[in-house]
């Protein structure tokens, strides 16, 4: 079975800053397998977010090709790209980005609604995942009533609920203290094993190493190690 989920071929990303060209990623070759649990590490400005952007179909490379399975992402239209994200990618952000007017339950419901599912058909599924992240007794609360760690759990549930093939998390623990960070990482790892969704996150925290299957080091837009 071919378990190649994402592959990069000679991918570069160059930003124009005024008249200058700034190369954020340089000739990246990379493969991500289904169900893997991996992270990009590197100092600020090394290109982690840019890389996640490209994987998530939010941006396109300046040169080189990115494939999702056998689909070349750069050949997709804006709408097809949206569909790709909608169906396959779950996002987790450093600042959680929960919608303040909605409850925990509703925040997690949103991606399912965006995929055209009806609320009454997915209620169980939402409740189930809320209990998996251990927030069943907070399910009716608004994000403002939760702690940072709890918010990030909601965000994880929100990313997972649509059963994506890939979850992208940009520095998911950066806003949390170390105890919460470790709990979040443990939870992500656990769910990665249960749900078979590949989890790719970025961090500049070296502590995470013991949880991950694979660590890719970035510096100045280049891969400096892959272990």
């Amino acid at each position: 079975m071919n378990n190649k989920l994402i592959s990069f071929h000679e991918v570069s990303k160059i930003f124009k800053v005024g008249d200058e060209n700034f190369t954020a990623l340089r000739d990246i070759n990379l493969e991500i397998k289904t169900g893997s649990f991996m992270s990009f590490v590197g100092p600020s400005g090394s290109g982690k977010t840019t890389l996640l952007n490209l994987i998530g179909g939010l941006d396109v490379p300046t040169s080189g090709d990115i494939f999702f399975k056998d689909i070349k992402l750069s050949s997709l239209s804006r709408n097809m790209m949206a569909k790709y994200r909608r169906e396959n990618i779950g996002f987790i952000f450093q600042t959680y980005n929960l919608l303040p007017v909605y409850s925990v339950y509703e925040n997690i419901l949103l991606p399912l609604l965006l995929n055209g599912l009806k609320e009454n058909t997915v209620r169980e599924r939402v409740i189930d995942i809320v209990s998996k992240v251990g927030l069943l007794d907070q399910i009716k609360k608004k994000p403002s009533q939760l702690s940072g760690g709890q918010c990030q759990r909601v965000a994880i549930a929100r990313a997972l609920v649509k059963d994506p093939l890939l979850i992208l998390a940009d520095e998911p623990t950066a806003n949390l203290d170390s105890k919460n960070s470790l709990q979040i990482l443990e939870l992500m790892k656990e769910l990665n094993q249960q749900y078979k969704a590949a989890v790719v996150f970025s961090t500049h925290d070296e502590k995470v190493t013991r949880y991950i299957d694979r660590e890719i080091g970035l510096e100045d837009g280049k891969i400096i190690f892959d272990k």
């Binding site: 977010t49 996640l52 952007n53 998530g56 179909g57 939010l58 941006d59 396109v60 804006r78 709408n79 790209m81 949206a82 569909k83 790709y84 994200r85 909608r86 169906e87 990618i89 996002f91 952000f93 450093q94 600042t95 980005n97 919608l99 007017v101 909605y102 509703e106 419901l109 949103l110 991606p111 609604l113 965006l114 609320e119 940009d170 520095e171």
Partner: protein, 433 residues
């Protein structure tokens, strides 16, 4: 999804109350303003129709051409036959009222029978006495009677209250009408003033004399003859209907003229006019409609501007939500579509509330009225002193449509910014919180 968004709208008062208040205020203002304008204008039109022009008017063309001279010799004979014809050949929902427009000198004698004062008056003779006559009601004469009674006995008259004042007459005063008869001779007939009327229209209060139709026919020797047939529609008819019906009647008249009643003169040409053909009312209606659309248009435009900005503000307020939905793969079109639905919903809700508020206000003005006697007394226009607004379905529609339209377009214009938002920056934007 839509239900989900509405939950958000209701919880987030700041993005809900402001636009909805704008729509509500705008629609309420439009409904009230249109109601007020309609009331003033249609009040004037109805007043004119009831007193003077009818909605339709069948008149002998030679009379109409020299109407200002009141040429009674060119009146239209065969009253009974004409009524029969009208009843058979025109819509059954039109009621026809025979009238005589006359002009004469009103001579007030002193105790010795010598002239105390004399003044030219314009008069109208109408059917006061038939049991099936609707004229007293139509002209609100019972309500308008300031003093005395209506002319129900023989040779009695009621006159405008300001005319009474300037003639210095009191009730029961016997006066003489000096005028010209149907056949051109001089006539003089005695009448008794039995009542003073406040028409509420300054020009009429100063000049108008009303007598009974039969009395007028006796005085002016015009048996079975009238000058006018005024046709009245139920209020559900609008101006376009008037023209259609008028054309139909004129078409039928052309046939009738080929075999006319024997009492008609050879050169009698009965014609039908609608109110729009008389007193310049047609062009006034056009102007009025134009002004009304202008007012409604301005309000729509202003509402749209405000709602556009409200949409932009709400766009900033919901920047995170929109970004998140884009990142999660909602297409730009879908996002804008849902915003449009939200705008539609806010437009509808605001319009309903606006209609209730504006409608209540208009209804109040319709039932109670606003006395503007002083403001209008010098204008000489046929405007009732007490202005009443008019609550019409049209008025509501003219409020609701701009309310909904401006809400949807305002939101859509504001949300065009979403197209400019590039996905590439979403991560960074969302990271910023």
């Amino acid at each position: 999804m839509i239900v989900f968004l509405f939950r958000g709208i209701f919880r987030d008062k700041s993005r809900f109350l402001f636009p909805i208040s704008i729509v509500t205020i705008g629609v309420a203002l439009v409904v009230a303003l249109v109601g007020f304008m309609e009331g003033v204008f249609m009040g004037m039109i109805d007043m004119t129709a009831n007193l003077d022009t009818g909605h339709l008017r069948l008149v002998n063309k030679p009379f109409y051409d020299e109407e200002h001279l009141r040429p009674l010799d060119r009146s239209l004979a065969a009253q009974k036959e004409t009524l029969k014809w009208l009843e058979h050949n025109t819509n059954s929902d039109i009621t026809w009222a025979p009238r005589i427009r006359w002009g004469a000198l009103l001579d007030v004698p002193d105790v010795n029978g010598n002239t105390k004062s004399q003044t030219p008056v314009v008069g109208m003779a109408l059917d006061f006495k038939s049991s099936d006559s609707f004229e007293i009601k139509r002209l609100h004469l019972v309500e308008s009677l300031l003093k005395g009674k209506l002319p129900l006995g023989k040779n009695e008259m009621v006159i405008g209250n300001q005319l009474a004042h300037s003639l210095k007459v009191s009730l029961g005063q016997s006066v003489t009408l000096l005028g010209q008869s149907f056949d051109g001779g001089l006539v003089a007939d005695n009448y008794t003033i039995v009542g003073f009327i406040k028409f509420g229209v300054t020009t009429m209060d100063k000049k108008m004399v009303l007598i009974d139709l039969i009395d007028a026919q006796n005085t002016f020797y015009m048996d079975d003859t009238v000058t006018d047939w005024l046709g009245y529609f139920p209020s559900s008819f609008n101006f376009t209907n008037y023209v259609d019906v008028k054309n139909k009647i004129n078409f039928n008249l052309n046939t009738w003229i080929k075999t006319p009643p024997k009492d008609w003169a050879k050169d009698d040409i009965p014609i039908t006019l609608s109110i729009l053909d008389q007193q310049n009312i047609g062009s006034m209606v056009k102007t009025f409609t134009l002004i009304k659309s202008f007012v409604v248009g301005i309000f729509t435009f202003l509402m749209m501007l405000v709602l556009w900005n409200a949409g932009v503000l709400s766009g900033i307020h919901r920047y995170g939500e929109m970004g998140l939905r884009l990142a999660f793969g909602e297409s730009h079109w879908k996002l804008i579509f849902t915003l449009g639905i939200e705008g539609l919903f806010i437009g509808i809700l605001g319009s309903i509330v606006g209609c209730i508020i504006g409608g209540t206000f208009t209804w109040y003005l319709q039932e109670i009225g606003l006395n503007m006697g002083d403001a209008f007394s010098k204008s000489g226009l046929m405007i009732n002193d007490v202005v009443r607004a008019r609550l019409t379905l049209d008025g509501f529609i003219q409020g609701i449509i701009p309310g909904i339209f401006s809400s949807v377009t305002g939101t859509l214009i504001a949300s065009l910014a979403i197209f400019k938002r590039s996905e590439a920056n979403l991560f960074r934007e969302l990271e910023a919180g």
